[in-house]
């Protein structure tokens, strides 16, 4: 016995096994009929689609088990299309499987690699061509071509400049100023302190200046404020932040300091605010300090007080930019 290890050999392609339809005309006919039925089903599907589209009104609802009340026009339109398409496919595949030749064919792979002679020729051609262009011998052309192409590459970038204005301090300002009234969202009604019970929240926006009746979404995206009433003894704030509240009512920017979703989910018993986007949790009693989740900064607090008529107003603009962070944000 030799010391060489003998590996298991390749027995080659197994003998071809014929299908029933190959040998027996009866089965072939049956397969043909099956394919034909599938194609006919498809035709029926298309007819169902056409009939649903033209004749079935779109306000009839029928109860279907599992699915509930369904719009019949929609459902039959879609099912008709689905049957029409699926059955053509099934028919084609069944036809290929049962009736078309299924003897395995072997094809040779050819090496991709060009032979050495071709490669050498290629290199020679490129070198000759490059030599003919003469870039190597003509540095002046090379350098000025580089300059021209390089500069022209700046043009598309420059032409995109007017895509938008420069941010300037847009990200740092909101519409809130000293004396701006808080009004309900929606409804635009000013709010008195007595309007809120302990445990109440209100969605608010700054009152529109006189003469304006329409708020842009751009403004809402920065101005939205959440008003919450607690009992004054529930707060755990320093004196300055406490002075920004009024009789237990505290106001925060509703725009999450993480990525800008609306933070309005207030849990009355725990006094936590939850942002549903990434689950940042803020503690209202400690000026919206982040206690869970990926937000890094508390929600900006809006200093509020009441005006002579008793309506809640802002004492001053926000002391910091609202919304998500950005490079120029100092905090």
């Amino acid at each position: 016995m030799s010391n060489e290890i003998e590996a298991i050999k390749d027995p080659g392609l197994p003998a071809h096994v014929h299908r029933r339809a190959d040998n027996d005309e009866k089965y072939a006919r049956r397969a043909e009929n099956q394919v034909a039925i599938l194609f006919l089903l498809s035709a029926l599907g298309t007819i169902l689609l056409i009939v649903s589209y033209i004749f079935i009104p779109d306000d009839i609802f029928v109860f279907i088990p599992i699915m509930g009340e369904q719009n019949i026009h929609q459902l039959l339109l879609g099912l008709g299309m689905a049957i029409a398409l699926f059955c053509i496919g099934a028919g084609l595949i069944h036809w290929a499987k049962t009736l078309m030749p299924d003897e395995e064919v072997i094809a040779e792979r050819h090496e991709f690699r060009s032979d050495d002679e071709d490669r050498a020729e290629f290199v020679k051609t490129v070198k000759a061509g490059a030599g003919a262009a003469g870039l190597g011998r003509r540095p002046l052309i090379k350098r000025t071509l580089g300059l021209a192409l390089g500069l022209s590459g700046l043009t598309p970038l420059l032409l995109l400049r007017d895509l938008g204005p420069l941010p300037k301090d847009e990200l740092k300002k909101t519409s809130w100023k000293a004396g701006t009234r808080l009004v309900t969202d929606p409804g635009d009604r000013p709010i008195k302190a007595s309007d809120l019970e302990v445990g109440a929240v209100a969605q608010t926006l700054p009152e529109l200046p006189a003469g304006e009746h329409h708020r842009s979404l751009n403004d809402i995206a920065k101005d939205a404020v959440l008003l919450i009433r607690l009992r004054p003894e529930d707060f755990n704030l320093d004196d300055e932040r406490l002075s920004w509240t009024h009789e237990g009512i505290i106001a925060f920017s509703k725009i999450c300091s993480h990525m800008g979703c609306a933070v309005a989910l207030y849990e009355q018993q725990t006094k936590h605010l939850l942002c549903p986007c990434h689950q940042s949790t803020f503690d209202v009693t400690r000026a919206a300090k982040v206690i869970f989740g990926p937000a890094a900064r508390p929600l900006p607090q809006l200093a509020i007080t009441v005006d002579e008529e008793g309506y809640l107003v802002a004492q001053a603009p926000f002391n910091e930019p609202v919304g998500p962070s950005f490079w120029e944000r100092t905090s």
Binding site: E69, A202, Q268
Partner: protein
Amino acid sequence: MKEFKEGNLVKRLSRLRRHRAAGPILLVFALFSIGTTFQVASAVDTSTTSAAERTVAIEEGKQLFLKGCSSCHGLNAEGGTIAPSLIGVGAASVDFQVGTGRMPMADMSQQAMRKAVVYTPAEINALATYVASLAPGPEVPGDELLNYERDGSVAEGGELFRTNCAMCHNFAAQGGALTKGKYAPTLMGVEPKHIYEAMVTGPQSMPVFSDKTLTPEEKLSIIKWIKAAEAEPQLGGIALGRVGPVTEGLLAWTLGIGLLIGVAVWLAMKAR
């Protein structure tokens, strides 16, 4: 008439008392005042119709309370470490909590869940009247107030819902997660009265929605929208829970690719 002496008020009043018309006038006045008092009282509380019935209800409610609620909420509803005080929560709170089966609470978990109602409507009314008698609080809304079909607007209700409610209860009122295992429940299949009471009383984690910031008409619009969403047939096919892309992706990864791979396996199999 005998002559009045100036400044003699007592004599004057005594004369008026004996006037022939005094009796009828007094009767009219009494009827008028009782009638208006009745109007005012019945507008908010249709459950008890007389002071006597109210007293009976309070007594009955107190007995029910002592038997079923005082072990957690205290003998005088003053609350304690395991349950809050019920003084001032009003009839609406009781009607909501007991009427939806949340109370009595089955276990001391994070959250009281909607479950089978334990008390009969009469008993709930008694409990509510008792708690309301302890201190003033939100009243149970009457049917007249709850006519959302007439007084509410679906479109406005949708806007209000998305601004005030969707962040907890989800855009289609299917419910959503809060922190530490709490959740805002689905609003499907909830009585309009209970939805209203929840907004007014702010049960457990839910905040209070004051009538000035969310007016009663606005509350009715919200209820109308919720009922319309509940009745809305599933447009476009099975709704997959109305919770968004999570269930849609799940269906694509199970039924979608499953069907396609199934066909692919069939396609590549040798025919018999």
